[in-house]
Symmetry: D2
Subunit: 472 residues, 4 copies
């Protein structure tokens, strides 16, 4: 394509060569916004006609032509040509092929600067809803596994050392709450994108009597941007959705770390389903939790995507700068990575076998009754710090002798401290230990049952929000 | 301090040396949370008494003792000792000094795991309000400068090339809208922190009949955390406030880039006040916009802080891990850096001299009337792409001849295209060009007046939110 | 493809579905290493035969088959199938298609763990040489432009305020030195990759009597890895090359910032060639330095790539983990981005028009003679701090009266300080000011001439290194 | 301090207030460079005298005064005042207090721009040597532990699944090789800093006849910078050392992840020494590997430091900009964090108890003989892929029946494949399996013995480099 056939070709004397064409083009990335671009152009064309800026008959031709372009892209017959530079020009070029020079009127009162902002916002809103669905699917699965295994005891860890026995359901629900916060960030990102930029033109607004509210209504935007310069240079909404992805991916990396640990021979708490494992090309016995590792590993790329976006915007003067062309790839990558990761984790969690017996055996180790012994003393009037010291000595003695706290006799307890009474032995029973965690939010059976209800309600609230947005 | 006097000393046989004491200690960082720590402990002690877990008289002694600790910290007489490891132990140690062993009862039904989460949330809420105040102060200043210079025309840039004339007020207001989104992120971060974690104990809840809602009410939390394991390992609220800081700092870096450009001899649009400039130790004529450069440079540290936090949490299994001790320094640094940067930018913007004449001269350059010439043709029926080409050729001709578009005669215009009519020359008048940007959000004078009202209303809404929170 | 036809299929009962195939596959990324994979396999097969591990005739068949696979990939007839998972399996599958089951012997004494490490190292070495070429091309251009415009004076800036006049050549050469350091980092990255990992097998070495040195010699590696577990889990060489790319891209972002500034109407120091500019779809007069902006904007993605890699490796236990599959995409992206950016900057710098007159006019502004006036006083015995103060007052006076330092009379100078002698006026002549910077590395004409020689010598040394490596 | 008493105060009319003083000051950070600042100033003063730029007697007074300032800083009697802005002014102010106005001559032919670059380079060189020592100490410890436990078998993992038995010594040595690469990066960072910038003045060089080579010799620099503009704006050496820290910290995070895993009850491979563990304030039985967690957690801050530095330099025009004041804190933080982390890890590794029996028991699990069974078949002519399938089926059968591969009879093997011969059972003996890994770099006993020698030699080479530098 020669320079003179470029949309901005009038001013130039020399041709641009293949390298600059490829280096400058955003088409390979932004063609993913084709649907949004056409949707936005149809709304723009209809408004231009409604405002008598272009004839209705021209608008109709344009809309019809755009619909054909849409069909061609959907059925794969559309020919993407790097010479078009970006999706906006690719669509417009093809439109003019189809409807003739009247197609050129589509660009009236519009610049690529506000057009690309529009497309990116429509894309981000769609992506937020897609992520919301995937987040909710995983929350639903976590809640279902928690419900399924109510009452299963496992070791609770701090510092990866056995700390106190907890319910497996409690552990699963911990992740459902992380994901409910992820959903909140996704919703905030949706709201951030939900403002119409079109009508800002290159940077200063236009001279045409546009009806921006009508375009906002047609495209489902809740608001119209207040300042044209801000409007063409604002990509906060991409930062917000990429940030939401980064935190969610970190959350998934934590769950995956646990799935990997739990499926070691040493822990043995779960067995990952064959469909979600792979083998080794050289070691025939291997069954590797590859997908959990991949999700954990992909945390790097999403954190990298967020860094990338923040760095790109550092120090940019107003209004549009070409640097901003680098905004979409990291955001799209973060969105796609998180969507896939959510699906992979949902697949692993929903199909993993929970090895109830191994968890129970694990919960019996590690002197995890120590806190309850100390609490017993504290409940009987000993300052907690002192109680902590008494029990610490008991643990050390047991460890040296290879005994558990459960194997201590009442006499031995009383020798350690006269505060221990006849009922002291009940404080080391594992099921009783769990049952005693009665504080709101604790791992006691009733509290976890309540929590299941809370988690379901929170999920339903977010699901209702999603349904409402999808219905728009 | 010997190992046996450590709170967890009972179990240990060997002493720890000075290095591990220093390396493991968080006191130099978390002492900034002293006020929050004491506030939380007072609420905890009162609830323990109200629930008959400790005697009222003990609680009173503890509260009185904590109040004294607070006074000692406030007046600088408190002696911070690295051997205390963290602020929680420092406060408790001094408390026991003052009130005797009854002070040890304060730790009943509590762990450092939920205590540190509580302190960090109280700190984050306070910090969010402090940031909100600083953000609003800068918005207010931007709005005031916009009001003060209504009608001043300056060049608007894209790609740092002159694009279209805009109002200086419009440019200032663009930043006020960025800051209004920053305020929204700060508000979200406040909400994220606004959940009580205390009562989660180490990870599983406690065996004591706590009244968590009473503690939440006493401390002004809107909700009680739902899952104890999540509660002690969740630092999303620190990520959220650090992210809010990172985006805001990027916004400030953009404004500072412009202040730096505008105060060059080449642009000359503003003169930074002496109070906000520095000189050179070697070049006597220099007057450097140091503070704008520093704010721009500090973008690195805030982006680094966010990266730091995300990396630290990657792959951590539940529940508490010592890695999480690294959570506070980056968050505190981001908060402090943004607060100072907002103040510095407010200082520069409120005192800078706006060189109205230099802006006007700048606006006359750069063939910025070209778009309006093309719009004229488009408004008279020529497809925009064609109009763009016609005007591009006119610009090229003027540039070669060293003329402006304003110097073209009507005949020359008509020679370029017969579509140009008798009124064509009006399309190159700069004031008229600005006035014609009538779209909502555009730079036209009436639109900017409307926008000033909108910006003030948005500020008032956020100010009301802040006042409400500060009153709690 | 059913699970049983996977290379590790024997152990599995269930099939894997399309999602896991796509999510787990690295083929879309690692197919870029096809050439390296085949090269490595040929060397491996030949060594296996030389060591009598497989029959020579089998090795010959394998080598012949691999050569055919190579041809098919080169001419585009090779069919990449996501079901192959990665490039290693894709090549092996096709090899077995061609040569039959004897092809399976290629994998003797080898694992994908050491194979992928080998391919990545070969790729990194090739990439380092490619980057070295591009770095040198830009250095060469900078030196050529410096040579071409010897003697041209322009303003030198600190804080973007005019500081002291410098030679344009000096400014250009500053970047050649940055790039010479980038070359050093590229060379270090090459050396880091220059170690053969093959023979480490899955993690522990193999039972076969391999001749690793022979493979190293055949493939041009300088050393053989010392520890098989480190060998399969080490990706430092990818970090090193990505880091080299990140710093170089930051350097380019600095140069591009200047190209953007210099091509504003306000500075006007250069005119970017049409071939390296673009226009606006809406503003016909615009000529935007898009490529400089893109290069600056891409700094974000390269910094993000480095962050991504570092995050991925945080906390990975030995030896291979699937997380490591995420190693190639960021490294490849950083390499490709920098290679393209170097070419783009080289294109811009080599073709830009240097506006000598505008530079000279700029150098006359800004009271840049002030330092020399102060130096005059210091050279005549006044303490420098005092001299600084005297000249500062002169500058302030001139600024108020709208005069330049050159317009001061000898009498006025003497009134400011009796230390000024009859020759004082020579200290404000711009050409003399430049000429006086005689320190090694300074902007004096002779010094810059010397520097040109040094820069050429440094370039030649690096070019010789490159030629040597390419000849291997 | 009033503006007029600032070193650049002559030009200014208004005073600067406390906030700008604090915000603009670098003293709290750069006072760590006091020793370097004074060392550099002494060399500068002596050269000024030797070149007859200042009288010898003045230089002597200055050197004597600087020596006194050094003593005051060393003994803590020096009063740091934020009004001094930076360490350079703090030292000069005190110098003038001591020696009178002659002290002002020290700044002749020097700017803070080249002075700060000098100090930072001296600091970076010192820091590199300090890090080199700490890296070598940990290498030495790893080698010692490897030597001490020669012959101890443990499970080798990939994907955290048991893969093949390896020697504990082999595993330890893997980390010594990572650290040897870290040493290489530290050495490169040292070399990057080893260039004298002084003499570049503000940006253009000076008019004084400096002898830069003499200053370089006096201060131990290997080279003199070639371009004054590059010289005052180059911080690559800080990037290089921060990058070296980041990779090393990632390496430590991997080792710490393993120490944490190995000290769980589930793995039980090591017992961390009490001196390097901490307890819990609430759970008396806990013994937490806090220091390993802290080192892993600090990976975030060092990656954040690197990000911070890269971001700060993005897009800065030449030459010095105030943004660059943000260069030291991240570099200093990374250096300090790594130095402490190396010491902590050295402490843990040197004192941990290696639970030889637990490792041996672990090595017997997980069907780790599977590869050798497959290798047996491959060595007897079966294509490896086929052998892999045969053994995969045997593993599956054993797993279902709860048997190990060692429990298979010769008859069962032969039934699985007629290729198994009379000696087939030897292929599942664990000690034999390890012994058979005879490839260079493999885990076979002889290979590991060789590797110990190599590791020691590599360490000695680096130690010699260090001794040579320290002697300078």
């Amino acid at each position: 394509m020669s320079a003179t056939s470029k949309p901005w070709g009038g001013r130039f004397e020399h041709s641009v060569d293949a390298f600059t064409e490829q280096f400058g083009a955003s088409l390979p990335v932004d063609k993913r916004m084709a649907e949004q671009d056409i949707r936005g152009s149809i709304a723009h064309a209809r408004m231009l006609a409604a405002q008598d800026i272009i004839p209705v008959v021209d608008a109709e031709a344009i809309v019809e032509g755009l619909s054909q372009v849409h069909r061609e892209i959907a059925d794969g017959s559309f020919c993407f040509d790097i010479a078009d530079e970006d999706i906006h020009m690719a669509v417009e070029r093809r439109l003019i092929d189809i409807v003739g020079s009247v197609g050129g009127k589509l660009h009236t009162a519009r610049s690529r600067n506000d057009q690309v902002a529009l497309d990116a916002r429509l894309y981000a809103k769609d992506a937020a809803l897609r992520l919301a669905e995937a987040v909710n699917a995983l929350r639903s699965t976590l809640i279902a596994r928690a419900q399924e295994h109510l009452g299963v005891v496992m070791p609770g860890y701090t510092h990866l050392q056995k700390a106190q026995p907890v319910l497996f359901s409690h552990h699963m629900l911990a992740y459902s709450w992380m994901l409910s916060r992820d959903m909140m960030r996704v919703r905030h990102a949706f709201d951030a994108a939900d403002v119409l930029p079109l009508g800002s033109a290159a940077l200063a607004g236009t001279t045409f009597p546009l009806d921006r509210q009508a375009v906002a209504d047609a495209l489902g935007f809740s608001a119209v941007s207040a300042n044209s310069m801000d409007s063409v240079s604002d990509r906060d909404f991409l930062l917000d959705i990429t940030y939401a992805c980064a935190v969610a991916q970190v959350h998934l990396s934590r769950l995956c770390e646990e799935l990997i640990l739990w499926s070691t021979e040493e822990f043995g708490f779960i067995t990952v389903d064959d469909a979600w494992s792979t083998g080794s090309s050289i070691m025939p016995q291997k069954k590797n939790p590859d997908f959990a590792e991949l999700v954990r590993g992909k945390t790097g790329r999403v954190v990298g995507d967020l860094t990338s976006l923040l760095v790109t915007f550092k120090g940019l003067p107003l209004a549009y700068n070409k640097d901003m062309q680098e905004d979409k790839e990291p955001a799209f990558d973060a969105i796609g990575t998180l969507a896939d990761s959510l699906r992979a984790v949902e697949g692993m969690v929903s199909t993993m076998r929970v090895n109830v017996d191994a968890m129970r055996v694990g919960a019996a180790g590690g002197f995890m009754a120590a806190t309850d012994l100390a609490d017993y003393l504290a409940a009987h009037g000993m300052p907690f710090r002192e109680a902590h010291g008494v029990v610490g000595k008991l643990v050390l003695a047991c460890e040296r002798e290879g005994r558990t706290l459960q194997q201590l006799t009442l006499e031995e307890l009383k020798a350690a401290s006269p505060v221990f009474g006849e009922d002291a032995l009940t404080s080391v029973d594992l099921d009783a230990i769990v049952a005693r965690r009665v504080t709101a939010g604790g791992t006691g059976h009733e509290r976890v049952a309540e929590q299941l209800t809370q988690a379901r309600e929170a999920l339903e609230t977010d699901a209702a929000w999603l349904v409402e947005r999808l219905a728009e």
